[in-house]
């Protein structure tokens, strides 16, 4: 009866209690940081002696933070678009293509997700030093596209595997050109996969720290690099304010995702 929710008796109470504790543990840092960002103590005393918005004022008054956020946004958007475009073509080939070594190639394209990112960071850093691409936007975008590609391929390929190809063939039989059939029948059917790919690819770049630390220059910093630099100096509450805005962004992305999934799946 261990898998019957209604017939587990006292065991259910124990396991549910434990699950609640773990959920609280997972929620703790996120809630804590948001509360702290409104606390008036510079030394992050908790519970705070009073409430204030001054850390947000300080954050918004410092152009370096806004700059870093915009840089991150720009790089992540470009990397996501590239990764989804390249990933879309690759997924069609991986799912429908019939050629030798397909599984090996699939493994190769997913390797950037598995390889410890520090190894890639050091390697691309050395490589770009030689090419003169270190500390440039284009260098950032290339490196982040490599890292984002697996996150784009997996959802698209999964969606494509679940799509019945005979529907596309039917469109062609009914007179659509192959390209038309793909654009008007297949792509709309796998749009949830493409949408997830875009979100994951964006987050893969937006949250990326290690490559960014190596690639950054004094004039080109992404948001994680800026936070990293501040963290190494002190634990200022301004970081809590910046972090809270990032939590807000995460919540926003979660809501959008849930909303779109619900709409698309109807």
């Amino acid at each position: 009866m261990l898998l019957d929710y209604d017939r587990m008796g006292w065991l259910r109470v124990v396991l549910l209690g434990f699950t609640g504790l773990v959920a609280a543990f997972l929620l703790l840092p996120v809630v804590f940081i948001v509360l702290l960002s409104f606390g008036s103590s510079r030394w992050l005393a908790f519970p705070p002696p009073g409430w204030t918005l001054k850390w947000y004022e300080e954050l918004l008054a410092d152009p370096a933070w806004l700059d870093a956020a915009l840089t991150s946004m720009r790089i992540a958007a470009m990397a996501a678009v590239l990764a989804v475009a390249i990933g879309l073509f690759a997924s069609f080939a991986l799912v429908r293509g019939e050629f030798r070594g397909r599984d090996v190639l699939r493994g190769l394209l997913l390797t950037p997700m598995i390889l410890p990112v520090v190894v890639f960071a050091v390697a691309i850093y050395a490589f770009f030093l030689r090419l003169g691409l270190g500390g440039t936007t284009i260098g950032f975008v290339i490196a982040h596209t490599v890292l984002a590609l697996p996150f784009a391929i997996i959802p698209i390929a999964t969606a494509l595997e679940g799509f019945d190809k005979t529907i596309e063939d039917a469109a062609i039989v009914c007179g659509a050109s192959p390209l038309e059939a793909k654009l008007r029948v297949t792509l709309p059917s796998i749009k949830i996969g493409i949408f997830s790919a875009a979100i994951f690819a964006f987050l893969a770049s937006w949250d990326e720290v290690v490559v960014a630390i190596f690639m950054a220059s004094p004039t080109l910093q992404t948001l994680p690099v800026k936070i990293w630099g501040s963290l190494r100096q002190d634990l200022s509450p301004v970081i809590a304010a910046a972090s809270s805005l990032l939590v807000l962004l995460t919540l926003f992305l979660m809501i959008v995702t849930a909303f779109i999934r619900r709409r698309f799946s109807k």
Binding site: L3, F18, F32, F89, A93, L110, V118, V209
Partner: protein, 286 residues
């Protein structure tokens, strides 16, 4: 054009064949394979051709300690994560959907929140004057603050926090795939809950535990951010050492040799995981 001709035309022209892979392959070859191989070559060519970098890494007690720390933390993190994740995944697999979606929401929120944000929160929570120490002292559990940060304890807490979702989510899938009838049958045949757990539920979920555990272990081995921020300078881990050798010490030979060791261990464990779960399921299940 006949339908047949059209169909074969469709398969020929559209990116259904090998052609669609070309952009991805160019990108990965040029900006992933080439740089990584070039880096690894430096480990046997700098400062002069030979294996002296590897000899130095394996011959020195300081480096041995870093390897030991790395494997120790990765093992402890994996063990704790498995034990904590299992009951949660178990409940998530059979919970009523409304309750389940709340717990899933919390897991996704934690997982999607910026890594540095989460690490920053733990830095504040775990510091000497942090909430956790103050609460423990307030409750009279300890007399003076516990050293929870700048050591392997802090790293372990922070890493377990980050790895839990990666263990819980795949395990839910494994547990959902188990037929509740098998456990009902066990109960009918007189098996105690403990026996049913030990002889049916646990063995049936073992593939999921092994796959998730290996993934957490591999990720922990190469983790950089959390050890760098929550760990101390005297308790360095491998990824941090590689970054330091290259960024501050500019010792490319030694740094790339250490990178190669990390890469080799990771790839070997990954190959083992492919054996266990199969490439397709692994790629589709992430």
């Amino acid at each position: 054009m006949s339908v047949d001709a059209r169909q074969s035309f469709a398969t020929l022209r559209m990116p259904s064949g090998f052609g669609g892979l070309l952009p991805a392959l160019v990108l990965i070859t040029l900006f992933f394979l080439v740089p990584v191989v070039a880096l690894l070559l430096r480990s046997v060519t700098e400062p002069e051709p030979g294996l002296q970098n590897y000899a130095a890494l394996f011959g020195d007690g300081t480096y041995a300690r870093v390897f030991f720390n790395t494997f120790l933390v990765a093992s402890v993190v994996t063990a704790v994560t498995v034990v904590v994740a299992f009951p949660v995944a178990w409940m998530l697999a059979i919970m009523p959907p409304v309750l389940g979606s709340i717990v899933f929401g919390v897991i996704i929120l934690s997982m999607w929140t910026n890594l540095l944000t989460r690490t920053y929160a733990w830095m504040v929570l775990l510091q000497r004057t942090g909430v956790i120490n103050r609460t423990l002292i307030g409750l009279g559990v300890v007399d003076e603050p516990l050293p929870l940060i700048n050591n392997l304890t802090g790293v372990t807490i922070g890493m377990v926090y980050i790895m839990l979702p990666f263990m819980i989510l795949p395990l839910v899938g494994t547990l959902r795939a188990i037929d509740p009838m098998t456990l009902r049958a066990a109960a009918l045949c007189g098996a105690s809950p403990i026996a049913a757990f030990r002889r049916i539920l646990l063995p049936l979920s073992l593939p999921g535990i092994a796959a998730g555990g290996l993934m957490v272990f591999v990720m922990s081995l190469g983790y950089f951010v959390t050890p760098a921020l929550l760990g101390g300078t005297s308790n360095m881990m491998l990824a941090e050492m590689i970054a330091q050798m290259i960024q501050s010490l500019l010792n490319w030979g030694l740094g790339s040799a250490a990178a190669f060791i990390l890469l080799a261990v990771t790839m070997a464990l990954y190959a083992l995981q492919l054996r266990l779960v199969g490439a397709k399921r692994l790629a589709g299940g992430v």
